[in-house]
Amino acid sequence: MSFEFGPVAACTVLLGLWMTGLTQLPSKLMLYALQTVTLGLLAIWVGKQHGEPALVAAGTAVALLKGVAVPVYLNRVVRRLGCRRDEGLLLAPPLLLFATAGALGALMLLHPFSRQIAPSALPTIGMLFIGMVLMVSRRLAVSQIIGFLVLENGIFFYTIAQPHSMPPVVELGVLMDILAGTMLAGLLTFRIRDSFEHIDVTELKQLRG
């Protein structure tokens, strides 16, 4: 079954990797949308293949809600906040891209579990890693939301890569939670802008010790 997954999985991981090298938020969102829609379509396809209508429904929902609605919403947030560029922390994004790629390769090789759950888990781990990198390497609050969503995509990929998909109630519940979380985080972003006059989360350092 992996031959069907392989290219798509590679595509999604590469999309994620590409995101690590970007500074413009709208383009990052675009890539994220692309990745999510791809995953959604993959889910639909797998669902069709296996005859699992629940997965088809879940894939559709993901593609529409997470892949279209969320990027649109975040795009609006970014536009209203008026900060489109995220310079990145520590490493400049292009350098980060190479570093992440290298680390990714190393991670794949070294991971002791990879044999057990390979190959479908490898893209998952990759996306988890990329999601973490995205969250850790950027300054803006919105970037962290995007990173989180990419991470979530990795997990979604894992669920569809299994022989049997998750129960639809669970899948939908998860989706709802993520949507709500994104909404909430988006709203908070405005609050951060109002209170701190920027959305640079590195400045949120008052609570310590």
Binding site: M132, L204, K205, R208
Partner: protein, 662 residues
């Protein structure tokens, strides 16, 4: 029909439980006299229980099911040993009750007294429960309640920053002790599968681990060197009746546990414990009295002297333990009897001394020897009672302290003469010499305390205006003093009780009654009659040729000022110099001026004693923990990126652990 002692115990428990609750609601604490009386009454019930058990069979009592502690019931065991300690608690706390109401009067405006009157009965109750506990869990609960309530009592004068500090030092020390204690209990349980003390039979190497942990934990509470540091901090800070209880009784509960677990049962059977206690006891005794000798604060002197006495008691216990393993029955009996007797004695005279110091503190508002002086004329009864207490604690005959020290000497001599191994016999010799040394040192220590505080001329106005303590306070001290003197004379009676206690340890030993051959009552009579006779003769002579009073000789240079009297520091100086290695004692003399030798303009003399234990061991330990805190706080730097990274790192670590675990 429950046995009589149960009735007494029930009454006591009721008393001690109802008292705190009642105290909480007596908002105005108008009934101080009533509280005092009730506490005295409660002490009597304890004494009653103790006495009934001393003359009856041991009894066990397990509380019904609702009071189950999950793994063990709340259970008590009342035997002779426990009864002895109950008597100690009662005899010391009963008189203190008379002292309380007058003494605590001055605290009324400083703090909310409800806390005090709640914590005090709780302390007494928990001390009794510690002694009665039949299993580790009951013991630990009572132990912790004891610690917490005594902490509250120490902190009574909490508006004073140094009191707060001292109370916290005490609380910290006691908690560390509890941690060790808990560790020991846990270990013992892991090895034996039981919480009941009577079921513990650990011998050989297995006994060492839990035993050492327990000894450490108990040593902290007992004030054993090197864990004694909280005593000189906490005792001066507490109100005097509380210091009396803590020093006289609470410290003994730890000794009780040591006696119970290491000597009177086979819970932890290993000769090493005997040697360890001997060594630590010896060091405690010498160290305690040496540091008592150089203190300026009267209550600190008493606190360090407690360390010394605990040391002596531990020597007795340690000697008995090692003698038991090497089969010297006589020494086992003597050592155990000496330790138990000294526990009772120390409760009496240390309470007496603390109460005396409390009277001084109350009337002069200082405990600093350098600010006292001349109190003997202003507080003659307190002075007299303090002398008696000091004489008793120095082991002067015919008072009770002597009897216990004599038993200790006899035990040591027994070991020295009849020990089964040369090493043990040498130990006996060293014990004799060491006890003698401690005796002389404590004599010097108390002479200094008495001389500087009570004799000579007042050094400050506060001391000059001191008044005699109130009648209630004197009565409390008088009762304790009577106890000291009475016990000194009624040694055979005490020994007959002790005999019943220690017989199981050494069934074949010569009875104590035949060991104690000293005719103390006769000696006392002789002394009294001789003294009285000569005194009467002197009086009659004085009537013929009246005694003339004049100023103290001042070498003809004019009026002596009180500042020219010996200071507490200078009295101790020759001795401090002799033991300068122990103290790291140093005198820094600095003379300044144009012609420094002949016409010095400024001379400063400073004596210093290095606090080796504090600076070399405890402070670094605390600093390490503190640094660990600093280090870990740095991790919580507020950066969300760092937090996320940590999380990711943890994930990798967990994955690695998962990957490499078979």
């Amino acid at each position: 029909m429950p046995p009589l002692s149960h009735l007494f115990l029930g009454a006591a428990a009721l008393f001690w439980l109802v008292l705190p609750l009642a105290a909480l609601f007596d908002g105005q604490h108008t009934h101080r006299r009533a509280w005092s009386a009730l506490i005295g009454l409660g002490a009597l019930t304890l004494l009653g229980a103790a006495v009934t058990v001393l003359y009856a069979r041991p009894e066990s009592l397990t509380l019904p099911l609702p009071f189950f502690l999950g793994t063990a019931p709340i259970a008590f065991h009342l035997d002779m040993l426990a009864a002895w300690f109950l008597a100690v608690i009662a005899l010391s706390s009963g008189p203190a009750a008379f002292y309380l109401h007058d003494y605590m009067e001055h605290m009324k405006t400083r703090t909310d007294m409800r806390v005090f009157w709640t914590a005090l009965p709780l302390l007494l109750l928990s001390m009794a429960l510690v002694v009665l506990a039949a299993n580790a869990l009951t013991f630990l609960i009572a132990w912790e309640v004891m610690s917490l309530s005594s902490f509250l009592l120490v902190a009574t004068d909490h508006r004073n920053a140094s009191t707060r500090q001292a109370a916290l030092v005490y609380l910290g020390a006691t908690r560390v002790g509890t941690a060790f204690l808990a560790g020991g209990f846990l270990w013992a349980h892991a090895l034996t599968g039981s919480w009941v003390f009577q079921n513990w039979h650990l011998a050989g190497v297995r006994a060492l681990g839990p035993g050492l942990l327990l000894l450490t934990g108990l040593g902290v509470k007992a004030g054993m060197w090197p864990f004694h540091l909280w005593l000189p901090a906490a005792h001066p800070a507490a109100p005097s009746p509380v210091s009396a209880l803590m020093s006289g009784v609470m410290v003994k509960t730890a000794l009780y546990a040591i006696v119970r677990l290491f000597l009177f049962s086979r819970a932890f059977a290993h000769p090493a414990f005997g040697y360890i206690l001997l060594i630590l006891g010896s060091v405690s005794a010498v160290w305690g009295i040496l540091f008592a000798l150089i203190q300026e604060d009267i209550k600190r002197i008493l606190a360090y002297s407690t360390v010394e006495n605990v040391g002596l008691i531990l020597i007795g216990i340690g000697g008995a333990i090692s003698a038991r393993f090497l089969g010297v029955a006589g020494a086992v009996q003597l050592g155990a009897a000496a330790a138990l007797f000294q526990i009772l004695n120390h409760a009496l005279f240390k309470s007496l001394l603390f109460l005396g110091a409390g009277s001084v503190d109350l009337r002069t508002h200082t405990r600093d020897l350098t600010k006292l002086g001349g109190l003997g004329k202003r507080m003659p009864y307190t002075f007299g009672l303090f002398i008696l207490g000091a004489a008793a604690i120095c082991g002067l005959p015919p008072l009770n302290g002597f009897a216990a020290e004599w038993l200790l000497y006899q035990g040591s001599l027994h070991i020295a003469a009849q020990g089964t191994t040369p090493l043990l016999r040498c130990c006996g010799v060293l014990m004799i010499g060491q006890t003698a040394l401690v005796g002389v040192l404590s004599l010097a220590c108390y002479t200094r305390a008495l001389g500087v505080a009570f004799q000579g001329r007042p050094r400050t106005r506060a001391a000059e205006e001191a008044k005699e303590a109130s009648r209630g306070m004197l009565l409390a001290q008088g009762l304790l003093a009577a106890g000291c003197a009475g016990l000194g004379l009624a040694v055979p009676l005490a020994l007959s009780i002790l005999q019943r206690l220690v017989t199981p340890l050494a069934p074949n030993a010569v009875p104590l009654a035949s060991v104690w051959t000293l005719p103390m009552p006769m000696l006392a009579l002789l002394l009294v009659f001789t003294t009285g006779g000569i005194a009467m003769w002197m009086e009659s002579a004085a009537r013929r040729q009246p005694v003339r009073k004049f100023i103290t000789w001042e070498c003809g240079f004019g009026d002596l000022t009180p500042r020219m009297q010996v200071a507490s520091g200078s009295f101790a100086q020759p001795i401090a110099r002799m033991f300068s290695a122990f103290y790291r004692y140093a005198i820094h003399l600095h003379i300044d001026g144009v012609n420094r030798r002949l016409f010095p303009e400024e001379i400063t003399v400073e004596t210093k004693t290095g606090a080796v234990l504090e600076t070399r061991i405890y402070h670094p330990l605390v600093r390490w923990v503190d640094r660990a805190g600093d280090w870990i706080v740095q991790m919580q730097a507020g950066s969300i990126h760092l937090y996320l990274l940590t999380m990711f790192g943890t994930l990798l670590l967990l994955l690695a652990i998962g990957g490499f675990t078979r």
